[in-house]
Symmetry: C2
Subunit: 140 residues, 2 copies
DNA sequence: ATTTAACTTTACGTAAACGTCAAGAAATAT
DNA sequence: ATATTTCTTGACGTTTACGTAAAGTTAAAT
């Protein structure tokens, strides 16, 4: 790798099928996300090429989905990771939204902790009943 | 409250509008949940009356939704909280499902923790940029 | 050069989770 | 007794998040 070459991992681009494998989603899904402005693949001719930025965004999208956020909610926050190229006014708004999202996620984590505790209790009760009914402790 | 009266908070039933207020959902939602067998309100004539059991189930439904589970996923687990009236075979299955759900929720909590960390970092970067651009620290 | 594989757009279809009338029955208030 | 409110059952509509099939285009392989 010489000085002239600016190529590095950051510059690596992926075809749509590569992205599908990377994130375990369909091509339809990726095109859909592009249409909804969650991804911005560049074009070589007609074909899409997904950049490092898209990969980062996809990671966040999957994360957001996991936590039950809608694509629209996710989209609004994605700008938080690209704030370089936005107006200060815009960034401020996104920042505020980010703070709200953060507190929402912290709240959710708390509730999740409680729900887990409840579920554990309930599972124990269930287990006790099964044992009392003569279940084999082995398969529990 | 005398000895003969068996009435207590457990016996309290709610009309559909009371339930709506209690859980901040529409009547349509409650009827929909009944149609999907997540709730089992008793009937006084044609009208629905929601029991303590339904209230408990609703709490779990709301919780499940918050964490991104589908109604069908939620329905399957609800039996975990009514296992008294089921066959041992059934309970065993529900118990197994509960264990899986538990580990899924614990995993989610972990990921949520990481996502929160990431978001905090990103928010800090964002804040720095805003301050460097001369934003008033007051409104951040 | 031609087959093949990967990709494209367009467009209709679908499942989940309700919303929103419409029309009638039942309970409550006056 | 009658008006009003609350509730009921359909039944069609809507949004989200894609699936899927059709028909054409581009790139890669032979």
């Amino acid at each position: 790798m010489n000085v002239i070459s600016t190529k590095n991992k950051e510059d690596k681009v992926n075809t749509i099928t590569e992205m599908c494998k990377l994130f375990q989603v369909s091509a339809r899904t990726l095109r859909f996300y592009e249409s909804k402005e969650l991804l911005f693949p560049i074009r070589r001719g007609q074909h899409r090429l997904f950049t490092k930025s898209d990969r980062g965004r996809m990671k966040l999208i999957m994360q957001g989905k996991r936590f039950g956020f809608s694509l629209e909610e996710i989209r609004q926050l994605l700008n938080l990771y690209n704030f370089g190229d936005h107006r200060t006014r815009q960034i401020k708004q996104t920042y505020q939204l980010g703070l709200k999202r953060l507190s929402s996620m912290e709240q959710q984590k708390k509730e999740l902790g409680l729900a887990i505790k409840d579920l554990k209790t309930q599972l124990q009760l269930c287990k006790d009943l099964l044992l009392k009914r003569g279940a084999d402790a082995q398969d529990l």
